[in-house]
Symmetry: C2
Subunit: 570 residues, 2 copies
């Protein structure tokens, strides 16, 4: 029984990691098995930086043949935001062949049970981790992230989120016994007795619709949550960010094959330019789960039309920061400047609206007027990004022309407190690298409302002048309720204001970061400890990761047997 040996070996290898993950999602302390320092790679079978880059280069101008059934074409054509052509081609699916093939392996995958599935998932993650340096380049040259961010967010942090999802999936499935003996007393008569078996069963085929900016980080939670709960998973990457997820699918298929499962439990669906395959896939009856990260418009479309599926969406919000007072003015400015600059604001968690009382704020450096705060923040961003090489390493490249167009249009929305500047990338002269713009708006001015109550994805922030702390809190509530927020930040030394902001976040269901002045930023969340999104405001209908993210990806089927002929002696 070679297969049993294999799955037992996987359990032996990964059970300690799974147990630590299970413990950590309960304590929510810091933990990660995936190192985030580049020097940690190159040992224990992992690729070092040079080998990772070589592996990435070797992928260019190749056909990534995943051995999938029903491949009717080869498609591709990603161009890096840094200007290079990847020229990789991927399988395009004949769905009427691929989808049935994906279902074929489900009974065996279901019968393997939660622990084996978790162990196989952890082996997939381990092999991805070993190739982190290769993934870093793949993420960089599809998302436009700077290398260090692509390495960290696209590597260990994404793997952490995948592992977290596996832990939640395992925990939910393992809460039930495999079987039970049920014996109900009947007074002086014999008890009623039944034998009951409980099996977590998959919903069907799960669809992951990837995004351009964080293909692995946003893709892994849904992918691994669905796979660990017994579903086959079809990955539909963003057409400009196929490679990181194609490598992921390849790795998953390798591991599944070696563990004697059907590799078609995980497959890729790449699309032709303009094909819009996501809509076709999302409404196929075989698709019973969808994970999506992207625009509110398409997220809403999915929620409305993909009625046969459980739909998990991360859409867009308008993230606010209340700036009311601080006892660390420099720390606040530095922290905010970094948050606005990181990956050119192309994170769903980047703050957009800074809500600042027009009469100014109290600080450890004395009172500061609204104009002073905005000017000091502009200076902070400027000094952070003054050097082109350093700026490039923080900003990365604009991911697509739409972001650039929004950035350029933003300057016309109000008084520009900090103009955007073109940065020349030291290694990639064709990359479009831009510093953030900060625009002053008036929260009491109806004409400005359309701007600050719309998401402006990219390096655009609004310094919104408000009448008072109370007005800031009111606008905070309104923005979250109407437009949603992935993150909320607040700076205040006033216990009353803090309480009011916290109450708004509890009532409107938004995740709050208070008084971040050091090396933790509002746009970053850590797996096993922080929730990404809340699932309770319009920005997202799910949170990464909680029980609700996994519990409805499977159903439990009970088979109860009367194997004694109850009541025959009555």
């Amino acid at each position: 029984m070679a297969a049993d040996v294999t799955t037992q070996a996987l359990i032996d290898r990964h059970r300690p990691t799974l147990d630590q993950a299970l413990a950590t999602i309960r304590t929510r302390a810091y933990w990660s098995p995936h190192p985030e320092h580049p020097k940690a790679y190159g040992e224990h079978g992992s690729l070092d930086a040079a080998a990772g880059e070589a592996a990435f280069e070797a992928l260019r101008s190749t056909r990534l043949d995943l051995g999938q059934p029903g491949t009717d074409d080869w498609v591709g054509g990603e161009v890096s935001p840094y200007g290079i052509e990847l020229d990789v081609s991927y399988p395009h699916p004949d769905l009427d062949v691929l989808l049935p093939a994906m279902r074929a392996g489900q009974p065996a995958w279901r019968d393997a049970g939660p622990e084996v599935r978790a162990a196989v998932c952890l082996e997939i993650l381990k092999r991805i981790s070993d190739r982190t340096m290769e993934f870093a380049h793949a993420v960089m040259h599809t998302s436009g992230q700077a290398f260090m961010m692509a390495f960290q967010a696209g590597g260990p942090h994404a793997q952490d989120r995948g592992l977290e999802a596996v832990a939640y999936a395992y925990a939910e499935q393992a809460r039930l016994p495999g079987s039970a003996r049920w014996s109900k007393p009947q007074g002086r008569r014999d008890p009623l007795e039944l034998t009951k078996h409980f099996t977590p069963v998959p919903r069907g085929i799960a669809l992951v619709i990837g995004c351009n900016t964080f293909p692995t980080w946003n893709g892994y939670p849904g992918l691994f949550a669905s796979l660990a709960t017994g579903n086959a998973v079809l990955v539909k990457p963003h057409p400009r960010a196929v490679l990181p997820l194609a490598l992921t699918v390849r790795t998953a298929r390798e591991v599944l094959t070696e563990a004697d499962f059907d590799p078609n439990l995980v497959a890729l669906a790449a699309e032709r330019p303009g094909e819009g395959i996501a809509k076709t896939l999302a409404t196929r009856p075989e698709i019973r789960i969808i994970d999506y990260t992207g625009s509110t418009e398409f997220g809403d479309w999915l929620e409305t039309h993909a009625r046969q599926a459980q739909v998990f969406t991360e859409k867009a919000g308008v993230n606010p920061v209340v700036v009311e007072s601080t006892d660390d003015y420099r720390g606040m400015l530095a922290n905010l400047a970094f948050s606005l600059s990181l990956y050119s604001g192309q994170m769903c968690t980047t703050p957009q609206n800074l809500l600042i009382p027009r009469d100014g704020i109290r600080t450890d450096q004395g009172p500061k007027t609204y104009d002073e705060v905005v000017a000091d923040l502009a200076r902070g961003v400027d000094s952070l990004l003054g050097d082109d090489t350093r700026a490039s390493a923080l900003l990365g490249a604009l991911v697509n022309p739409g972001v650039r167009a929004r950035l350029e249009a933003a300057a016309g929305l109000g008084e520009v407190a900090l103009p955007s500047r073109a940065v020349t990338h030291p290694d990639f002269p064709d990359a479009v690298v831009r510093t953030p713009v900060i625009v002053k708006l008036d929260g009491a001015e109806p004409d400005d409302e359309a701007a600050y109550l719309s998401e402006c994805f990219g390096p655009v922030s609004f310094a919104v002048a408000v009448d008072s702390a109370a007005a800031a809190v009111a606008l905070l509530r309104r923005g979250i309720r109407e437009k949603g927020a992935m993150t909320v930040g607040a700076y205040t030394t006033d216990a009353e204001v803090e309480r009011a902001v916290e109450e708004v976040c509890l009532e409107e269901a938004a995740q709050l970061s208070l008084n971040l002045t050091g090396g933790v930023y509002v746009n970053q969340t850590a797996a096993f400890s922080d929730f990404h999104g809340s699932g309770g405001n319009p920005a997202a209908n799910a949170a990464l990761t909680d029980a609700a993210f996994v519990a409805n990806r499977f159903r439990v089927i009970e088979v109860r047997r009367d194997d004694r002929g109850n009541g025959k002696n009555e």
Copy 2:
């Protein structure tokens, strides 16, 4: 701090019960704290049979004033299926007053935390349990159930389901720590440190839309799951079954008041005749959760239109029983006869289609032809229901004229193997009491398909002749997939057939009972052990009760604080 004493006293009183419930949903062994024998009532403050009946009689021709704000009218007019007029009136809501009032108490209820909420819910259930004998009459005279069933299913079994929901809700919320200290190593620099607080927050106001046949049993899971997760709950009973839920709301409001919470956290919305208030309520923006039991048509409407809410539906299915072979022919017939007769087949779990090979079946009494099996089953039902008094105690009354019309029409669908008979109830001569009809249909005959693939709610069963065991299994799969099933039964001594039936149930997500020949019936499920519905086939989108039933009724909000100024020493 009188309130603290009260809530602590409730925790002290109910924590052992909660702990036992938490343990039992993991072992799924038999357990119930609610006695199902009438003699157990009358002690420890509970009403005995006479006191319960007197309490019910005292309710007749009264106004049940719940002290709710925004009551603009008094409505009612329930007539018992047994013929008596209840003449109780209930508050009709002005929603623009009642809904805001229901929200007012939510912050305090949220801040109380999961354990206090669970304890308050258990106190509500305890007081309901004490009045079980009163509820029995209220359920009997709204649902038409016979007294003993109304007492058991409407009393202890419903209370079990409510407690089960509280246990799941508590378990999901308690998986998170209240707070965490997060410390991320930074090599030789000081670690990054954050303090994090995690709060389960409600989604908003939950709506329970009650049904006519099992107002408490089907109403309690959603009511208590939503309340225990911090939501206010508005109960909209079926207009013919208001009293049991109105008494429930009254009890909940009493307990909330005594525990110093806002009684408006639980409220009743009775409606005028023909008002159709459910549609209005279901699409109000304040309503964020809906629990519904009833027709597929309205369940589908809710799933389509109540997009602002989490919608949990139990709709209708077409429940099949595969009759392939048995080693206890008499036991099988007796078990099936009882299942078809109980509450006149007016259970969402009653078998409808008996799939029987036309060449007959193997039994311990030799081979039996299809005709013999059907005739023997008809005789079994006949002898079970031969005496009017005994028949009345099992059948109860038809709940509404629609059931009677369907029953009468069914005789025209095929050859009648067992005609329905009118039974005279010994105590209530106006009650419409009918024995079940069994109609022969041919599974290979396209003309019969419309009958056996539609739900025919009430005392109607079809003996469907099929070509083979394989044809039975194929029809089983098709029926579940297309029409859904709350229950599946099967009788077989053939390991191959058993495996095939089980595989269909696992793949199509239906709960399976095998070879029930004694005192356990396919239409009954026990809280803490059995799942009611699967949530994975068209009969219902949720199961009673699993983690998915509770996990998305609340969201978790994290507040993280940088209270040390991370990184200032860098």
